[in-house]
């Protein structure tokens, strides 16, 4: 198994490094913009003719909310999700196009073990990416003289990965089903990205408008589950959403395994 992990790592390490860079850019950009945005929002609050959103006082006074909103509820989550899906790209069906699949299948390794090793490395890399973001946030916050609970940032990172495994499983199944080496990447990102972004945008508007009529939709909104509440506690964690995400993940991995067993190479 160690060698299968090694192979999967060698095949994805460039993507992983690209992920580290992308995550750093997003985190640094929003931490660097904090002072400027707080300044503008404060101006707005003091100006009777300025914008007055319900969340503005919270954003101005709570650095923790600011980070959660812009990173874990939005841009960091999107970038992390993109790379988590890309880490899952590969495996036996992709090796068919590179011509190495017969060498791989000639080894005494079952197709399910190939799949498992691939997904395990994708999950580990996604976890490492989220922990790297924690390090960047902690270091960046220290540099800009802001404080944010390390426990909270860690919990949000764990929740993002915990629910985000669903994206990895769905991405893997799409890569398996869609034809072509590059076409499958594009189709997978479209199939995953459009509903994700639409649902995230819709739920964001619902929240901001204070409408609570789409609670059922929240359970389906993976973005909402990955973000959790800004002040995470044991009781406030989205357990139902997590359970749903894990069940769907198991279902998707099972479907990919069954389908993979039937493929003729």
């Amino acid at each position: 198994m160690k060698m299968l992990f090694y192979k999967a790592w060698v095949e994805t390490r460039v993507r992983f490094i690209a992920g580290l860079i992308a995550v750093s850019v997003v985190c640094i950009y929003y931490m660097n913009s904090h002072a400027m945005l707080v300044y503008y929002w404060t101006q707005d609050i003091q100006n009777p003719k300025g914008y007055h959103f319900e969340w503005q006082p919270l954003a101005v006074h709570e650095y923790g909310w600011y980070l959660w909103h812009f990173l874990y509820d939005n841009y960091l989550q999107q970038v992390w999700g993109l790379f988590a899906v890309l880490f899952a790209f590969g495996g036996l069906i992709r090796e068919r196009s590179t011509g190495t699949v017969l060498f791989s299948l000639g080894l005494p390794v079952s197709r399910r073990r190939w799949l498992l090793s691939r997904l395990s490395v994708a999950v580990l890399e996604s976890l490492a990416l989220s922990l790297f973001a924690v390090v960047v946030i902690v270091a960046g916050s220290w540099i800009i003289h802001q404080s944010y609970s390390h426990t909270q940032v860690l919990l949000h990172a764990m929740l993002m990965v915990g629910a985000g495994v669903f994206l990895i499983a769905l991405g893997n199944l799409c890569f398996t089903l869609f034809p072509g080496e590059y076409l499958s990447v594009i189709l997978t990102l479209v199939v995953l990205g459009i509903p994700y972004l639409l649902l995230q945008g819709f739920m964001l508007n619902e929240d901001m408008l204070g409408v609570d009529g789409a609670l059922w939709l929240k359970s389906l909104n993976i973005s909402h589950v990955m973000a959790g509440p800004w002040q995470m506690t044991w009781g406030a964690a989205p357990w139902l959403g997590l359970v749903v995400a894990w069940m769907l993940t198991a279902l998707l991995i099972g479907a990919a395994a069954v389908y993979g067993d039937r493929i003729d190479y």
Binding site: M3, L102, G106
Partner: protein, 296 residues
Amino acid sequence: MAVVIETLELKKNYGKHEAVRGLSLSVRAGSVCAFLGQNGAGKSSTIKMLLGMTHPSSGSGSIFGHKIDNESESLLIRQKTAFVAEDKRLYDYMTVAQIITFTKSFFPNWRDELERRLLEQFDLPPDRKIRQLSKGMRTKLALLLGFARGCELLILDEPTEGLDPVAIEDVLQIIVSLVADGSTVFFSSHQIAEVEQIADHVLMINQGKLVLDAPMDQVKEQYRHIQAVFPDPVEERDFRVTGIEKVHAEGRTVSLIASCNVDSIVEHVRMMRAKTVDVLPISLKEIFLEKVKAKP
């Protein structure tokens, strides 16, 4: 001698195309069995079915008694079988040393000494990336990775394709030495001369069906080319005798390919008042060409 590979009425369809049509064959332990056929005859499909890479449409097969269409038994087959694919594509992002370490980890009987010897003999640079190797070097590396596994069975799909004559000779010698050490070799090839050099059994497949299954000695001893000239024109239907595989009559001359029963055939030809009868040895290449030209 025990049977290592056995198939019974094995079939593989890709949509409406029948790639393998009821193939029944057996390969005995300790033999070098050549698997011949034209491109698209069904050789690679058969090999892929044997190794669990494709699923048979019907029929059955086994290697070392393990069923080929059962995933867990297929794993046992691949523990005991070294496979070298036709295209010899390897992970091109790895170095020679890395892919050796990678492959070695799956085979507890890996032959380190043979690995070192072949690295030297094939002149393979351990630190070079596979993508930087020539086609011939990649083939040598793929063969090294197959030979050093220490497996009881080697399945080689076109093992010498892309190699120079010196390397081909080296590879054939290695195959012979592995068989001397107790391995069984099942290989496909288009190089009939190589097959004649090392194989002790020949299987020929044409359009998915087995058209020849015989020991090489029997093929060499019993297959004959009989040419006869008659005083009057003859027809092909005059030569319906057991053992005649192919008849080609043109005017007063007839050309026969016989697989057995040569004496009786010659007697039959003489009784038809042939003026001259020549019995000539026939090469495997000629047999191959006759077999694949014929409709199965």
